[in-house]
């Protein structure tokens, strides 16, 4: 009988009760004055990690820029991301970065324009909005489904656990990208917004699998702790034990995995948009911008480089941040 494969020990971050005990043992005197330092400790360790701080800063900057950027550009330069200049089409199409209409230096289009004459910077920022939004929402969906699913399976155990996790195995073994592509093309929506909603559903519905496994693994080790028995002995209901007592204890690994899910989903979304299944114009995402850019890569390389570089930078940063968070929340690193 094959049992569920446990997540690698490296993937698991324990912030269970043993840590509290270990802390008190290490510093018997200041165990009291240290107060609720669990998160503050983690934060301090995160700040020591230069790459993680770099990642955090970049992620914050890119996010804020994406949110307010298009509006700022509209107010300063007077064009929206999908503004296509019509007065002199020949000159404004596919303009290189920092060049004005007469080939002089200009701040008007720092990233140049695309082959329809739209400002590349505004497009990239708008694309960032969509990319980040898609990644966030899908991660939230994966959090919601994955955590509850994994927690229920892990806590109830036995046959229910078996059935639930076999279902996850089956879904896992489906070729994920193909499933999403089939989903997206089968239910192809007429409006760009409809297609975006479909994208959320498609990405969210497959991204919770790993989360469910991670949470289940955590719950399996937590549920034999005495505080669960104590809670049961006080008459607490099963659902309350799962969601009020156990799930908060898995928060560390869940946060870490969620930060690592965001770039993963962002990448998948970009990939799908690149293939033309994802975000539809006039909406843009980094993936669809890159797809547009690829067509003219030899002549107008900036049309690929800028969206591509922005996405790569963001993905790097998110991964650094995720790794940093994992190290910061890992009790094995506590002595450092």
């Amino acid at each position: 009988m094959s049992t569920e494969k446990e997540p690698e020990p490296d993937d698991l971050v324990h912030i269970g009760p043993e840590m509290a005990v270990a802390e008190a043992d290490l510093h018997p005197d200041d165990a009291f004055v240290r107060g609720t330092s669990l998160w503050r400790d983690a934060w301090r360790r995160l700040l020591k990690n230069k790459l993680a701080v770099f990642g955090l800063v970049v992620v914050i900057v890119v996010t804020i820029a994406s949110i307010i950027g298009p509006t700022v550009i509209q107010h300063t330069f007077g064009f929206t991301p999908d503004y296509i200049p019509t007065h002199d089409q020949k000159l404004t199409k596919s303009m290189p970065p920092f060049k004005g209409p007469n080939n002089e230096f200009s701040w008007l289009h720092p990233m140049g324009t695309d082959n329809a004459g739209r400002d590349q910077l505004a497009r990239v920022l708008q694309g960032g909005q969509i990319s980040i939004f898609v990644a966030m929402v899908s991660t939230l969906v994966s959090l919601l489904i994955g955590v509850s699913y994994g927690a229920i399976a892990g806590y109830l155990g036995g046959r229910i656990d078996n059935v639930m996790m076999r279902l996850v195995d089956v879904l896992y073994s489906l070729p994920y990208v193909i499933v999403v592509i089939v989903l997206l093309s089968m239910f192809r929506s007429q409006t760009p917004r409809g297609q975006l909603t479909l994208l959320f559903i498609a990405l969210g519905s497959v991204s919770w699998l790993t989360m469910a496994r991670i949470v289940r693994g955590q719950i399996l080790s937590l549920k034999n702790q005495e505080f669960v028995l104590a809670a049961r002995a006080t008459g607490v209901s099963t659902s309350r034990i799962i969601f009020r007592h156990l799930v908060p204890n898995t928060l560390g690994p869940v946060i870490v995995y969620a930060t690592l899910t965001i770039p993963q989903i962002m990448l998948t979304e970009a990939f799908l948009s690149f293939l033309g299944f994802g975000v539809q114009p006039p909406l843009a995402s980094w993936g669809s911008l890159a797809a547009d850019g690829v067509q003219n890569i030899a002549i107008f390389p900036w049309q690929l480089i800028f969206p591509g570089a922005t996405m790569a930078l963001t993905l790097f940063s998110l991964n650094f941040l995720g790794d940093g968070l994992r190290d910061a929340l890992d009790p094995q690193m506590r002595t450092v």
Binding site: G16, P17, M19, A20, V21, E23, A24, A31, F32, R34, G35, T36, G158, Q225, E226, F227, L229, A230, A231, R232, A233, T234, G235, V236, S237, R244, H245, P248, N249, L251
Partner: protein, 338 residues
């Protein structure tokens, strides 16, 4: 059908078995006892003798699978807990039967504030509002002697020491004024001075609230000072059952004698500490005959062949041994005729 003889709890022929890869382990095998209102019952025995499983069986918290309550009755206040639906038993847990666990380090949820964990009890069982429950929680913390209870209520468990956590556990267990308190080795994980404080606290609260207590321990000293009756368990069986004073003065079972001899005597510093020879038996492969035979000074051929009878030595003193009468007489008791 409330029992008229003042029994709060009556356990009859309880059997709890565990299915392990080695075979069926009869962790609790045909245990019967009664507990009267306001009394304290001690259950002693070595590790693995079935003490904890007995009590988990009472409130139906035996991990299932692999454990299973095979047969028996647990009559609490006239109704059989083993027949109740899950919802009903949940309303009894914590409200009418509360439990204190061995290790205060792990029995509090590390991610919940102390106040929250205490409030959960009364909100659940007494229908308290948030404010009521909070006040009650603070009051309970004061009762169990936490200094600056109001200031401390919003701390997390790791900010408390072991003794304080055990106090919190007691506060939690007693916050709904249960009729029965099951304390499963409440002092094992604590150092000696704290042990004394915790026991004193349980005693005091018991006096004040009239709660019945089942005290599980392997510390005979604790039993002597706290309990009215004692049950000695070995290999899932009750080996001896008596009033506390009687058990200590005139034990009727070789195993109890061995246990009593192995308690260090502070007045005799030179003597070597006695130890019962051998190890507890492998519960999955019990041989026929007395499970203690291999370690027993009194063992004869019959002990290895036949399972010993549960001999009545007097009104409330029983012993599971072929030679119970002889051992009892040797200790200075006079067995009644069967």
């Amino acid at each position: 059908m409330t029992s008229s003889d003042g029994n709060l709890l009556e356990v009859k022929n309880l059997r709890t078995h565990f299915d392990t890869e080695d075979g069926v382990v009869k962790a609790v095998d045909d245990i019967s006892f009664q507990l009267k209102r306001g009394e304290t019952l001690g259950i002693v025995g070595e590790s693995g003798s079935g003490k904890s499983v007995t009590n988990l069986s009472i409130i139906r918290l035996v991990p299932d699978p692999p454990g299973k309550i095979v047969s028996g009755e647990v009559i609490f206040n006239g109704s059989d807990l083993l027949l109740l639906p899950n919802d009903a038993i949940r309303k009894i847990r914590g409200r009418r039967i509360a439990m204190i666990f061995q290790d205060p380090m792990t029995s509090l949820n590390p991610f919940m504030k102390i106040s929250k964990q205490l409030m959960e009890m009364t909100q659940l069982h007494l229908g308290h509002s948030k404010a009521q429950a909070y006040d009650h929680a603070v009051r309970m913390l004061e009762t169990v002697g936490i200094p600056d209870a109001r200031g401390r209520a919003d701390s997390y468990p790791h900010e408390f020491s072991g003794g304080m956590r055990q106090r919190v556990m007691i506060a939690m267990a007693l916050s709904c004024e249960p009729e029965l308190l099951i304390a499963d080795e409440p002092t094992t994980a604590l150092d000696v001075t704290i042990q004394a404080q915790i026991l004193e606290l349980i005693k005091k609260l018991k006096r004040e609230t009239g709660t019945s207590v089942i005290l599980i321990t392997h510390d005979l000293g604790v039993v002597a000072g706290m309990t009215d009756h004692v049950i000695v368990m070995y290999a899932g069986k009750i080996f001896e059952q008596a009033r506390t004073a009687e058990l200590f003065s005139t034990p009727g079972n070789p195993y109890t004698k061995g246990l009593l001899r192995s308690v260090p005597d502070p007045t005799d510093e030179q003597g070597k500490l006695y130890q019962i020879p051998g190890l507890p038996p492998d519960m999955a492969h019990l041989k026929p005959g007395c499970p203690f035979a291999a370690r027993c000074d009194y063992a004869q051929d019959i002990c290895r062949r036949e399972f010993p009878p549960f001999v009545k030595l007097n009104q409330d003193h029983h012993s599971l041994c072929h030679f119970a009468r002889e051992v009892y007489t040797e200790s200075g008791g006079t067995p009644v005729e069967a």
